[in-house]
């Protein structure tokens, strides 16, 4: 037997060790969304504030953040002030009010400020199910063609906005370039 073959178990052990060590730093909750690069699912829902019907076609033409929220969701309260700030900076945010009481939701927007161009009332959770939402808040980055390009799970805050802003800006640039020629 050649001498180096004695090292095979050691080599296997080292490789396996590296693999498992890497695994320690992966987030098991970071599940890739099945909807990235797919068109925004079809829906037809009334808005929360005036009952006007909106559908997926309303999202086309502009880059949007679609934010799934509810008054029952504590993390939504955490991210809300930052969304208001983003809206003031010109980020177009559409809300999906997920399985919520309408009155409580209206009061929330009244008291805490309304960052949303409009919020649709997804009382039954049908749109949220088609979006593969597992909890709130979740935020979808939708490009000007109405295609979902990125999904963020959990609150958006000052602290984690920097990488998200890059995605947002790249989508905005893309839509501008598409218009120019």
């Amino acid at each position: 037997m050649k001498r180096w073959t004695l090292f095979i178990p050691f080599i296997i052990f080292t490789l396996l060790g590296l693999l498992l060590w890497r695994g320690l730093y992966l987030d098991p909750k970071d599940v890739p969304s099945a909807l990235v690069d797919k068109p925004f699912p079809a829906f037809s829902l009334p808005t929360l504030l005036n009952g006007e019907l909106k559908n997926e076609a309303t999202l086309k033409g502009d880059v949007h953040l679609v934010n799934v929220w509810g008054t029952w969701c504590i993390s939504c309260k955490v991210e809300h002030p930052f969304l208001v700030k983003l809206a003031q900076q010109g980020v177009r945010i559409v809300g999906v009010n997920y399985k919520d009481e309408n009155d409580a939701a209206r009061k929330w927007l009244n008291d805490l400020g309304n960052p949303y161009a409009y919020s649709v009332d997804d009382e039954e959770g049908t749109l949220s199910m088609d979006l593969g939402v597992t909890g709130a808040p979740e935020t979808f980055f939708v490009d000007a063609n109405g295609v979902i390009r990125y999904k963020h799970q959990g609150p958006i805050t000052q602290g984690n906005w920097a990488p998200l802003e890059k995605i947002w800006l790249s989508l905005v640039n893309e839509s501008k370039q598409a218009v120019q020629p």
């Binding site: 909750k29 890739p32 099945a34 399985k99 199910m129 088609d130 939402v133 597992t134 909890g135």
Partner: protein, 165 residues
């Protein structure tokens, strides 16, 4: 004997979990046969589909809000006579492969499905090689050269000669 029998019984037992809010999901609309197959399909899928919010719970035993919603959706779909594959596709299209406790067979999961078999084959092959080599080593007794034989004899003779020491 009894305990052996007991072990055998356990080996062949199948797990069947109670479903959270199970009483809500009754199948009573069709004839008995149909109701039974649908109830079975519902039970099977509720156990096989993973709650997308939870790390390791299926739809049957999770209390998460989303699990409740998906149980209801699953119930509606089974009740309306959807095929198992259609329901699975519905879930995967929305929540990704993550929801499947039994992953589908595709390019991404070949390693998962066939990896263990390949590893087993490699291990068996190694075992066979090692055993063969050992056997060969035992069978082949090397003949001593004339010179070595002479030296051996000399050493043995020396031993005998020195016995009295």
């Amino acid at each position: 004997m009894r305990s052996v029998l007991l072990v055998i019984v356990f080996l062949f037992s199948q797990m069947s979990l109670a479903i959270v809010d199970g009483h809500e999901y009754q199948f009573t609309e069709g004839d008995d046969q149909q109701n039974q197959t649908r109830a079975q399909l519902f039970q099977q899928l509720a156990e096989e589909l993973r709650c997308p919010k939870c790390q390791n719970q299926n739809l049957a035993d999770s209390n998460a809000m989303i699990a409740g919603d998906l149980r209801r959706e699953l119930y509606q779909q089974v009740k309306s006579g959807q095929e198992a594959q259609d329901i699975i596709d519905f879930m995967v299209n929305r929540y990704g492969e993550f929801v499947l406790y039994r992953p589908q067979m595709n390019a991404m999961t070949y390693v998962l499905w066939f990896g263990p078999v390949v590893l087993l084959l490699v291990a068996v092959m190694c075992l066979i090689l090692v055993i063969r080599k050992r056997k060969q080593g035992k069978d082949q007794v090397e003949e001593l050269t004339a010179e070595q034989q002479q030296r051996l004899n000399a050493l043995l003779g020396q031993d005998k000669g020195d016995d009295h020491v």
